[in-house]
Amino acid sequence: MTALLALAPLVVALVASVLTLAVRSWPRFQRAVSVVSALVYVVSVGALAWTVVFAPDASALVYQVGGWKAPFGITLVADALAAFMLAVSAVVVLFTVVFSVPYIDPENQQVYYHPLFHFLVAGMTGAFLTGDLFNLFVWFEVMLMTSYVFVAFYGGARHTAAAVRYVVLNIVGGALMLLAIGGLYATVGTLNMADMAARLGAPGVDAAPVVGLTALLLAAFALKAGLVPFQFWVPSAYRAAPLPIAAVFAGASKKVGVYAIIRLYFTVLGDANVTTEVPLVGVDSPLAFLAPVLLVMGLVSIVVGGVGAVSRKRLDGLLAYSSIGQIGFIVVPIAIAAGTSSASLRHLGVLAGLVYALHHALAKSLLFLAAGTIRDAAGTTRLAELSGLGERSQVFSVTVLVGSLSLVGIPPLAGFFGKFLVFTTAADQFATARVAGSSIVLGVLLLGAVLTIIYATRVWVGSFWGAQSDRVELATLDGLQVAILVGLAAVVVAVGLGFEPVYQFADAAAEAAIDTEGYVTAVGPGGEP
């Protein structure tokens, strides 16, 4: 029966989307169903996390969909890593659904907003849970299909242009991903991730194309995560989508790309016995290939995102650029983990990336939702027209302050631990290998932190201090929206204050991510169908 828990979040999201579609003639009831479903989703994820990580006899849950055993059927694997990512997105999902009810106008909510939202959640959940590479592609597509509609949701010229760009880019990305998965299937002979790990770990395996094929997958995942050089869709898509959806994009669905990189490279290819020479990089394993590539992508993302955010005129554009930079902070420790030969540093790197992902999900969705409240109240997100918000509503200002300070990394907020672990990883790497590269990494991280302080200060000075502008004077902040923001800000503070269990959870997730053997044993491929 406990194995059903691995399936529960997925089924809850699917049932929620179908139910909200079926009851759309009764708008109030539909909204209630949507919010209740999100609550049930959080409860199911919580139960899953308890069983997988915190319970006395905790172990990974495996569910064979349709009764077809691995490696022939599609397997759902809920290990600590999947549970951690699900927990991160569940928090974001709950707050954004509740926020959407007072924010999106009722007519638009009825037009497929809630069904699509839950389909988006189903896509993310499936991507986190699946243990099958092709199935991962399918869930990516489920997520993208709904994202397309959300980017074009308001239907104006700007939104349509952003949607077309987004669609074309992701179709190319999807084609690359499919090509790579087909190639991997032809090379390794399986699509089940555990089976693939087992086969690639066997001695004397001949799978030289794997490095190149996974590089294609890396491109598709980086596109999803919005890493430089695939970041250019991010600002226009985030600004076009409804702001609660932008919160989900930045908070949760970007993390799917990061999760896929960790899962593929650390869990599946971590022990891979593949030796190839790659021109320029000169590499002997997929992880060693990932390290320099991801490191450069992450560092450039930090700089591009930071510099871009500093020069934006609108709050939502600023947040979109900021999330490019923050994704850089997530992948840099992961890249360091991939490049090191020390087991403890590898663990620390992945852990730092995961904790930072959690912090970014909370803080960035809080800020995007706050931007929504501002747009709703003042009719604009242009920073120059927003001075004096601090005077207008102190409670609201405090929530934004909490989000901004967490982004900057002030203790005791969640962001402090994220930044702290990232810098610890980079410093450890610097201590073990005193090469020029390590000091550059530290330098860029520091630059990124300074840029974060600059744009967070800009938001504060530009729109909260000073005399009230005309728009702000006329603005009325929605009480319910502010209450939801206070709730999310409380979560940011709570994660920071009660960091012990969160650390324990992330620690288990990082352990699961690099424990290829444990993953293979849990799934147990190679049995009779």
């Binding site: 089924v11 699917l14 049932v15 579609l21 079926a22 569910y63 064979q64 349709g66």
Partner: protein, 153 residues
């Protein structure tokens, strides 16, 4: 496109397409075919009718009902039915997947049995056809909604 040649061709072709669609749908669980292909072929038949005649033909010509011209295409009676069909299909798909859990099997698990019918002899009854029916409804409802609304613009 409403030429005599087109209309005559449609009259001949549409029944054949529909029969083929049903046969593909029914054999889908163990031969090439299934809900998706069957659904797409059915949509082709309807689209042929739409092209040869017009969007109101099914309502006026076949069912003999009046059409309310004042409402938008999305609220057109036929299109409303298509949209209901889409939702119904999704419900069937999810419900058929969940139904397997009740007797203790895995989500989406399928089974089959043989029944003996008087004239047909041994007939295989597969539970997968219920899932396929859901897929069929989703495909037909979804595609025809799109074709009607986009075709109207």
């Amino acid at each position: 496109m409403t030429t005599t040649i087109m209309r005559t061709t449609a009259r001949v072709v549409v029944p054949i397409v529909l029969v083929l669609a049903i046969s593909l749908f029914v054999q889908g669980h163990n031969l090439p075919g299934g809900g998706f292909i069957g659904g797409v072929l059915t949509v082709t038949a309807f689209t042929l009718v739409y092209v040869a005649y017009d969007l109101d033909y099914v309502e006026v010509g076949v069912l003999g009902r009046d059409v309310d011209d004042d409402v938008g295409m999305l609220d057109h009676r036929t299109v409303t039915t298509y949209r209901r069909m889409f939702t119904f299909g999704l419900l069937v798909v999810v419900a058929s997947g969940l139904a397997a859990i009740v007797p203790g099997a895995q989500f989406l698990a399928q089974t089959y049995t043989y029944v003996h019918l008087p004239l047909f002899g041994e007939v295989e009854l597969a539970s997968a056809i219920i899932f396929d029916l859901g897929v069929y409804c989703v495909v037909v409802g979804g595609l025809l909604t799109i074709f009607s609304v986009v075709g109207n613009e």
